[in-house]
């Protein structure tokens, strides 16, 4: 064997284990998901399994629960994206201005992200509980009275958002902080020499320089928002009156509680299409405006 052949063979041997895993657990599932979306495949009635064309998709469009779940998902995204963006930006600017103690603040802000969603949910369930919750215990003491954090339709989603914010904003703020620290100091110095005040520095240097990272943050937070599942699952199980049951939870319940795998797969593709559309639009819009 020549050196070149030997090297090729070695390369294939080294790549093979990963490639096998990738084909079996990424490529194959995608093919299965695609086929399933056009089939009826109920684990409770395997005999009737078979090709049904686009029926699963037309079923979804006619399914009021699908639209309710889509509505809940969009409501959550509308709350979490601006909340995360503004809080993370404020935290990043605050940390960036610190002379001492920046490492401490950075670590503390990041810490909640280390907990898993079950622990986070248990903790906030204890805070939010209407009767025995910590928040209401103190609100009663100071005379405000009980707040229906999770039991009222209008309150439940904002409460879930508050928990998610605490849980995930740290990571985003550190990404923004790193970007802030990479802005060349000379830009600020030159502009300050030319007489620009703090507000102008912020508007004409900080924000434009942060633009790529801000775009990235908006898109990833939106994608994450559309995938919300564990938070509502832990705090409300999707209630009250399904007002916090997002698409992922509906897909989960369709596929694994009602065993309708074909319908579940079809809705997963719809979720993917929604996410991809939003990501593309956001990239376009933000790139198009100003700069």
């Amino acid at each position: 064997m020549t050196y070149a052949t030997k090297r090729k063979v070695a390369g294939m041997v080294f790549l093979l284990p990963y490639l096998l895993s990738f084909c079996s657990f990424v490529i194959l599932p995608l093919i299965v998901a695609f086929v399933l979306a056009f089939c009826r495949y109920d684990l409770t009635a395997r005999g009737q399994a078979g090709f049904v064309g686009t029926k699963n998709f037309s079923d979804a469009f006619a399914d009021q629960y699908f639209w309710a779940a889509m509505g809940a998902t969009v409501r959550y995204a509308i709350l979490i994206v601006p909340a995360t963006l503004l809080t993370a930006l404020a935290l990043a600017l605050g940390m960036n201005a610190m002379v001492r103690g920046q490492r401490f603040v950075r670590a503390m802000v990041f810490l909640p992200g280390m907990l898993n969603v079950a622990v986070t949910g248990i903790l906030w369930q204890w805070f939010f509980n209407g009767q025995f919750g910590l928040f209401n215990f103190f609100l009663e003491k100071v005379g405000i009275g009980k707040v229906p954090w999770l039991s009222e339709k209008t309150m439940a989603m904002p409460s879930i958002t508050l928990m998610s914010l605490w849980w995930t904003v740290g990571g985003t703020s550190i990404v923004l902080l790193t970007a802030l620290q990479q802005i060349p100091v000379q830009l600020f110095e030159a502009a300050a020499l030319d007489g620009a005040d703090t507000n102008r520095l912020f508007k004409y240097i900080t924000i434009p320089m942060l633009k790529p990272v801000l775009t990235f943050t908006v898109v990833t937070t939106t994608i994450g928002g559309f995938q919300m599942f564990g938070q509502a699952f832990m705090l409300t199980r999707g209630g009250p009156e399904l007002s916090t049951r997002g698409l992922v939870q509906y897909i989960y319940e369709t596929a694994f509680n009602n065993y309708r795998l074909g319908y579940g797969a079809a809705m997963s593709w719809l979720l993917f299409i929604v996410i991809a559309t939003f990501a593309i639009i956001q990239f376009r819009v933000i790139r198009g405006k100003a700069i």
């Binding site: 050196y3 090297r7 390369g11 080294f14 790549l15 284990p17 990963y18 490639l19 895993s21 990738f22 079996s24 657990f25 990424v26 194959l28 599932p29 995608l30 998901a33 399933l36 940390m95 002379v99 103690g101 603040v105 990041f110 810490l111 907990l115 898993n116 969603v117 079950a118 622990v119 949910g121 248990i122 903790l123 906030w124 369930q125 204890w126 805070f127 509980n129 025995f132 910590l134 215990f137 990571g171 985003t172 550190i174 990404v175 790193t178 970007a179 990272v213 995938q227 599942f229 564990g230 832990m234 897909i251 989960y252 596929a255 694994f256 795998l261 797969a265 593709w269 979720l271 993917f272």
Partner: protein, 274 residues
Amino acid sequence: MKSFLSAAREITMRTLALLFLAPILLMFLTSFKPESEVLNPSSVIPRTWTLANYAQVLGWVEEAPFARWFTNSLFVSTSVTLLVIALSSMGAFAISRLKVPGGNFVLGMVVASMMLPTQLFLVPLYLILSRLHWLDTPAALIVPATAGGFGIFMLSQFMRGMPEEIEEAALIDGCSPWLVYLNINIPLCAPAISTLAIFVFIGSWNDFTGPLVFMDSVRNYTLPVGIALYQSSYYTEYGLTLATSVLATFPLLIAFFLFQKQIVQSMAATGLKD
């Protein structure tokens, strides 16, 4: 005036930082309180310290085999971490050092697949795992996790940024690829590999949806799903559920304080790269 403002800002930031810490601190402190004190908290620090919650949680073997869930989590997360490191570093070595034909095409596919939401894979994976008879076994949580693209992508990028002359010279001189991989490549990539290991371990330890869907019997659950199930039956006995939460969290908190710099910095770096 200026120094007053900056002092005020530092105090505000530190207070905010404590606000982020407070729930976790409360969780620790309250888990040592007796049940009566949990529901009527008169002080943050327990008036009577007790291990009763922990004793009850760890003793409840049948309904909630906590030690078993802990072992399951440890086994799954460790296996996933080791396998991901082995497969990803070998793959990255093949692509960016041995320059295997089609390597960059594979990498492109991997990166493209990383854009797809994980939910898309749940239903088909469930079917595939059921055909393999892997449902309700640790294999269902371990083997598919090795297909994730993050590791091979990150290590390929890292290797691309490192000089390849030593490895190239060793290969041309007839050194076997295995020796080059083990003796030169792995030591050179150690910083990236350790960062990857931390990330993969945390991700696997905290995975919720996978075990929720693929595991069936209570004794095969991992910690997050086990304690979520436990919480739904004992949700107003906060002393107990908080004690389980502390037990499920402390290994990660220890890891966080040990590797804080790496975790926070790589978070920032990976966030920017994507």
